[in-house]
């Protein structure tokens, strides 16, 4: 009688091993996630308010400043 964690491990291991088209799909998922998180998120998509301001108060102040500055709307 194998333990539940081992059964689960074997379930996933055998499942991944028996994949055919799934192998290609996992490669695509891995490449996609790498591009998204290791390239895009890291270098192109910083959280603007979190990187520019240290406290919630400062972030709120900045947004409120923007809201009351009244630039042209579109």
């Amino acid at each position: 009688m194998t333990s539940l964690p081992k059964q689960l491990y074997l379930f996933y291991r055998d499942g991944f091993r028996s994949m055919l088209v799934g192998r290609t799909l996992w490669k695509i998922i891995a490449i996609k996630l790498f591009i998204m998180f290791a390239v895009l998120k890291l270098f192109f998509f910083p959280n603007y308010l979190e990187t520019k301001f240290n406290t919630e108060r400062d972030r709120a102040g900045h947004v409120l400043e923007n809201l009351t500055r009244m630039p042209p709307a579109r």
């Binding site: 088209v21 895009l40 998509f45 709120a60 923007n66 009351t68 579109r74």
Partner: protein, 509 residues
């Protein structure tokens, strides 16, 4: 010249639209196909017929391809919130932050458990538990769409919240008012049922290809009968929920409804334009004709908007300039009150900074009086309150025409299937095949109506898109726009290629 230069906001909008539209290529197929697979497998478990198991596994493979290629494409939208739309994401963070995070965690556990059983468990778990897992994937996938659609519904009809002027945030006051707002409920039901239609068209189209190629005909016909039945029921539901959605638009976003029908001057017994060529040069308040050519059905728009064919439906001009006779306050007047709200908000901010609490309280009282028109204070002219009419009109009519065509296709398939001559109807099989493309057109057109039709607002009446964005260089957003264009196009091509390979192989031998 300067007018033609695309600004940061333009690029941010283009990037968001591009990402959302590509994302929505993958999502509706996942939502609908998951249920079709559950139906196929239920028939297999009920009948014990191995043919149905093979059929189920074939569609499950195509489902897996679509899911794998599409998974996490929506996360890019969340990246964009933090970078391109920082004002907006800060302001709505209290309302959307937690539910969207819960949705992500829920989706992860769903995928890690029931998806795994569905794909890996055919010989490892009982038939009953496998079927249960397949149903859980279908239900769970659709439920995971709830919160993002509730969020979208809230942007169209902001309710259950209060604006906190100290934190510059909308704060949730009533969770159920947000979650069960009529706009959110109908957005969810209309969107998911239309996804069922798309998936049904996908199954019909691929199966029709088999019939045209004279391959796997038995499996193809079985798939088509289930898909056509599901698709027809879903189409009826799309019609009913679409009617409710339009009713809500009439009451919460009347400008969008007027743009959907190119109605500039409000009228009683307002017609629906069955067919028309709209005058894209027309602007609110001018004397140009709204249409070059049109065929109208009198009273139908009034019926749709108010459940009364003789009722009055406001037009774009009424909503821009006001209509005292009909007691309609136009954008022109709302701009005045909006600017008061903005001035009092600035006044309140200054008073708080300088520690003058009496003045702050007085400014806040005035702000509260006019805050409902806050967004109008940012407009430069009343005409800015109107969305791009031609885009909204054509998208709406394309969606409706296709939404009317699809149930007819489903009925024809069922008719010829029961006559036993489906494989001989070459024209119908060709139509089914091309309907995959038409299904996607209808999906995208629906979102264009929803999103372009609500311009200029990021949050209806409260925050125009120009104020929702971040002050960053346009070149930054431009660069990532083209990165996304390349990435998503590559993913789409990969999906089509891998799917075509699997379709060529067909169901397992």
């Amino acid at each position: 010249m300067g007018e033609h230069i695309l600004t940061t906001v333009d690029w941010a909008r283009a990037q968001f639209a591009l990402t959302a539209m590509y994302h929505w290529i993958f999502v509706p197929l996942t939502l609908g196909l998951s249920f079709l697979i559950a139906f196929f497998e239920t028939i297999y478990v009920k009948t014990g017929n191995e043919e149905w198991r093979k059929l189920t596994r074939f569609w499950m493979t195509l489902f897996g391809i679509n899911f794998a290629i599409g998974v996490a494409t929506g996360i890019i939208l969340e990246f964009q919130f933090g970078t391109n739309w920082s004002n907006y994401s800060w302001m709505v963070g209290d309302i959307f932050g937690a539910p969207l995070a819960i949705e992500g965690i829920f989706a992860f556990f769903l995928e890690a458990t029931f998806f795994a059983v569905m794909f890996f468990g055919w010989q490892r778990v009982s038939k009953g538990f496998h079927l249960f897992s397949t149903w859980m994937v279908a239900v769970g996938s659709n439920l995971s769409a709830v919160w993002i659609l509730v969020a979208n519904g809230w942007m169209q009809f902001p309710t259950g919240m209060a604006f906190n002027p100290d934190k510059a945030r909308f704060e949730m006051q009533n969770f159920w008012e947000v979650a069960l707002s009529p706009v959110a409920v109908h957005k969810f039901t209309h969107t998911t049922s239309s996804a069922f239609v798309l998936a049904s068209l996908f199954v019909l189209g691929v199966s029709a290809l088999f019939l045209l190629q004279e391959r796997h005909q038995k499996m193809a016909k079985r798939s088509m009968v289930v898909a056509a039945a599901f698709g027809f029921v879903a189409s009826v539901f799309v019609g009913l929920t679409g009617d409710e959605a339009a009713f809500n638009v009439a009451h919460h976003q009347p400008m969008k409804l007027a743009a959907m029908e190119g109605l500039y001057v409000g009228q009683v017994k307002a017609p629906i334009v069955a067919m028309g060529i709209i005058n894209a040069s027309k602007k609110p308040g001018d004397d140009l004709p709204a249409f070059y050519q049109e065929t109208k059905i009198p009273g139908l728009l009034s019926l749709l908007a108010n459940r009364d064919p003789n009722s009055f439906v406001p037009g774009i001009n009424d909503l821009v300039f006001g209509n005292a006779e009909r007691n309609i306050v136009g954008a022109e007047q709302r701009m005045i009150t909006g600017k008061i709200a903005l001035a009092e908000l600035a006044h309140y901010k200054y008073a708080r900074e300088t520690g003058n609490e009496t003045e702050a309280a007085s400014a806040l009282a005035l702000f509260d009086q006019y805050k409902g028109d806050l967004g109008y204070g940012y407009l430069n002219s009343p005409a800015e309150a109107a969305p791009p009419v031609a885009t909204t009109f054509y998208s709406f009519h394309i969606m409706v025409v296709l939404g009317t065509l699809f149930p007819l296709i489903f009925l024809l398939v069922l008719y010829f299937a029961f006559k036993g001559s489906l494989e001989y109807q070459r024209w119908l099989n060709l139509l089914c095949f091309f309907s995959i493309f038409l299904g996607y057109v209808a999906q995208q057109a629906g979102w264009v109506v929803a999103e372009v039709g609500r311009q200029p607002w990021a949050i209806q009446g409260l925050l125009p898109v120009g104020m929702a964005s971040t002050n960053i260089a346009a070149s930054n957003v431009q660069t990532t726009f083209f990165i996304f264009l390349t990435l998503f196009t590559a993913l789409l091509l990969a999906e089509i290629r891998i799917m075509m390979q699997q379709i060529k192989i067909g169901p397992e031998a």
